[in-house]
Amino acid sequence: MENEIRLLVNNISVVYSDVIQVLKGVSLNVTKGHIVSLLGSNGAGKTSSLKAISGLLKPENGKVTEGSIEYDGAPIQNFSPEEITRKGIIQVLEGRQEFKYLTVEENLRVGTATRWGKPYKEDLELVYHYFPALLVRKKSLAGYCSGGELQMLVIGRALMAHPNLLLLDEPSLGLAPLLVKEIFQIIKRINREQGTTLLVVEQNANMALQIAHYGYVMENGKIVMESNAEDLRENPDVKEFYLGTAASGALKSYKDVKSYKRRKRWL
């Protein structure tokens, strides 16, 4: 039970418009009840990986051409987003895709789409419990909320769907450091208290590795490194290229910092 696999991505390739290959054999797995983070720079294929899982590649003319994605042991690759969301996989899109002309509470109610007709009052209370800032704003149009409120809104909206696996795409994007910290604390609480399994894509490697149990590093459409979060935090390459801290912690001499001196070991 403890180490049950929730999601198994097995060597998938993703191609857009039948020609543009963005993922070249990505494999990862997510253990039930864990937070797993997926790190990497821009264009590494993190978002495409999430969309392959949630089925949102389809509207963008993308396809999983090889490999398989298994959720609780059943294949789900290339299923439609309607089917995948009804299995309990909800993706929170990058860049806070709120419904501008709906109020905050109406935004949250859209989260009930996968279980239409069921009561949702308690879920609303749960979301307001995690994000008290939303309660104050519940009657105002989402288009007029601040960036931090919107990030809370889209995470809360996803929670309304009772997700078993929550895919978060860059929750820290464009937020002040203090707010980032707050959001990540809440994510951690949700994981602990609701038992939600999370796969978090992040640029902010430091933050992501603090709350995660396990991490993967992606580059050029491939997984280049994977390990426990603590080991990744201590790894010299990750420190250098993603955490931005020097290996020794002390100030290094100029010649050590010169980028051509040090090469990524995995390339």
Binding site: L56, Q97, L102, E106, V110, W116, V154, A158
Partner: protein, 292 residues
């Protein structure tokens, strides 16, 4: 003064009718950005279905009316399924051309079945509905139009504002990728918007049929009037469609009453041209929310 009041009452009830008819048009536009050029024919279909059920099959009016609404609802689903769903993902212009084709096809079918004559519904509105207000006489047709217009505008208003399905429909209009990511069944929302458009068109078609008689040509011509209404109100605003409808209805009756009856039919389009020149987003079009 009495003449003025009489025109005011007529104008508002006509306007509510236009508003109801425009509501169906705005729904489709909001959820899928498709301009439905077959809207007038949807009105005609509703009116003729009611004609068949009430006059030919001789059903009681309430039953005929309910059956018409249910029938057109499913017809809307069917039309979306057969003709529009295959075009999802194609260019918008192709979908709009499809609605043009559908309109011509529907009109042809109706002409083929019913001919170009004016048909009439059995006289079912009780005389007791009409009443006199001072010196103004309000005929029962206007009272019925008024009641039906207000009633259904409130019903649909509540549906969009408070019901879950209504909120899902608005979410698709607002941000389709986000709606998809939360599991909103976008194709079902498109189908729903066509089904509801068929229903509201049928309601306004029936009432117009009571007023002017049921005729394919005149009903499908009314469909063209949704354009001044929605452009005046703002293409994507349900509230705007209602106000736009009432304004156009009033303009028509006042022009007809005070200036000339031949100008009456043209005035909405004159307004359309002026509005497009000075305020292309309409009076009540959505203000683009932008964060800076």
């Amino acid at each position: 003064m009495d003449f003025f009041m009489q025109l005011l009452v007529n104008g508002i009830s006509l306007g509510l009718l236009y508003a109801l008819s425009a509501l169906g048009f705005v729904m489709i536009f909001k959820s899928s950005s498709v301009l439905n050029l077959a809207h007038g024919e949807l009105l005609a279909i509703g009116a003729f279905v009611f004609l068949v059920l009430s006059a030919w099959a001789d059903l009681p009016i309430i039953i005929a009316f309910s059956l018409t609404l249910i029938g057109t609802f499913f017809l809307g689903f069917l039309v979306e399924r057969l003709f529009l769903r295959p075009l999802i993902g194609e260019k918008l212009i192709e979908v709009i051309m499809m609605t043009l084709g559908l309109g011509i096809m529907f009109k042809g079918l109706l002409l083929f079945i019913f001919g170009g004559d004016i048909h009439a519904y059995p006289d079912f509105l009780p005389e007791g509905l009409s009443f006199e207000l001072g010196n103004i006489f309000i005929p029962s047709v206007n009272v019925a139009t008024f009641v039906i217009g207000i009633l259904f505008l409130i019903v649909f208003g509540f549906f969009f504002k408070y019901s879950s399905q209504g909120i899902y429909m608005r979410s698709v209009a607002d941000n389709q990728p986000a709606a998809l990511s939360l599991g909103v069944h976008v194709r079902r929302v498109f189908a729903m918007s066509w089904a509801i458009a068929f229903i509201v068109a049928a309601i306004s078609g029936i009432v117009l049929g009571i007023i002017n008689g049921v005729n394919v040509h005149s009903l499908s011509a009314v469909g063209l009037k949704v354009f001044p209404v929605v452009i005046l109100g703002g293409l994507d605003s349900i509230g705007g469609a209602i106000l736009g409808g009432i304004i156009i209805g009033l303009l028509e009756t006042f022009t007809g009453g005070y200036i000339s009856t031949s100008l009456r039919e043209i005035i909405p389009y004159i307004v359309l041209v002026i509005i497009l020149m000075v305020k292309p987003y309409g009076l009540f079009g959505l203000v683009e929310i932008e964060r800076v």
